[in-house]
Subunit: 150 residues, 2 copies
DNA sequence: TAATGTAATTGAATAATATTCAACTATTTA
DNA sequence: TAAATAGTTGAATATTATTCAATTACATTA
């Protein structure tokens, strides 16, 4: 049997979805052509970047969620953008922000468990030139990606 | 003219989208019926929670993004869950986590600008019984909701 | 290990939905 | 206020999802 779900999950994390115009038409009591016009306009203007799926991460073996504050080594301190773009490529990374305060980066990471988190963190220090890390572990994800988690 | 885009944006933040099976079929070189079957299975199992849109937040007047670490007053310290569920109801709140460390909650907030952030923060202290707040402002959102921001 | 049941794959038919188009209306601009 | 532009909408068409039934793969157990 071919297990296509991992591929599916990865593609759905950032795309391969589309608006449900008919459902919106009912909800908003507007003709579907009007909604179609307005949605395409939002897309054209670049206001909508993509359509994607949101998962119950525990159920897809990404139950461990952590927020990592990171300092860059002095070689990289000057251009956090390049480093953060590289970090952003990682499928396990939900978000990367360059932030104010004592740390330069804030990374939201989703892993299977603490072990996988630890492996990732060790690797990251080497790969991305991180000089110091401060991690917050999520004990409960009440809302994520604008979606309330049951 | 009726401006339905704000309603549209709100609905798209957490739903009213659907998978693009035909595109996936081409991408994965599998029959669309196979993908249909597998996707419905993921939905049935609750692994997929919803399908939604991701925005260029600057372009929809939600350009100011901040991470707020919060302590609850001692009356609320015992049940962070109830408070966090209430906070989660707020449309401006992208995520809420109960976290380890010196603070109980980590809130990701999207507002138009600093002014709106300040108003929200003041209100939140009153409404949710927050005794102390520590905020990190995002200077650049490199990735968000698993989507790389150009 | 053969037999039986269950889960997954798939092509063809159908149903549902998005998209296009053209006519019209509202809004903005000169 | 005329002309141009942007937004709305119903009807026609094109796409796409969904259902169905047949088939195959896999797991269970006797």
């Amino acid at each position: 049997m071919k297990d296509i779900t991992p591929k599916l999950i990865n593609l759905f994390k950032s795309g391969f979805c589309t608006p449900q115009i008919a459902r919106l038409a009912i909800k908003l009591k507007e003709p579907s052509t009007t909604l179609h016009y307005n949605i395409k306009k939002l897309e054209r203007e670049g206001k909508i970047k993509t359509y994607k799926a949101v998962f119950d991460y525990k159920k897809i073996d990404e139950g461990h969620c952590s927020y990592i504050l990171a300092n860059l080594t002095k070689e990289n301190y000057g251009n956090p953008e390049e480093i953060s773009k590289r970090i952003a490529k990682d499928d396990k990374v939900e978000s990367v922000d360059i932030v104010t305060g004592d740390y330069e980066l804030l990374i939201k990471l989703r892993t299977k468990d603490v072990d996988e988190y630890y492996i990732w963190a060790k690797e990251a220090i080497k790969k991305y030139g991180i000089s110091k890390m401060f991690s917050l572990t999520s004990l409960k994800q009440v809302k994520s990606e604008f979606v309330e988690m049951g």
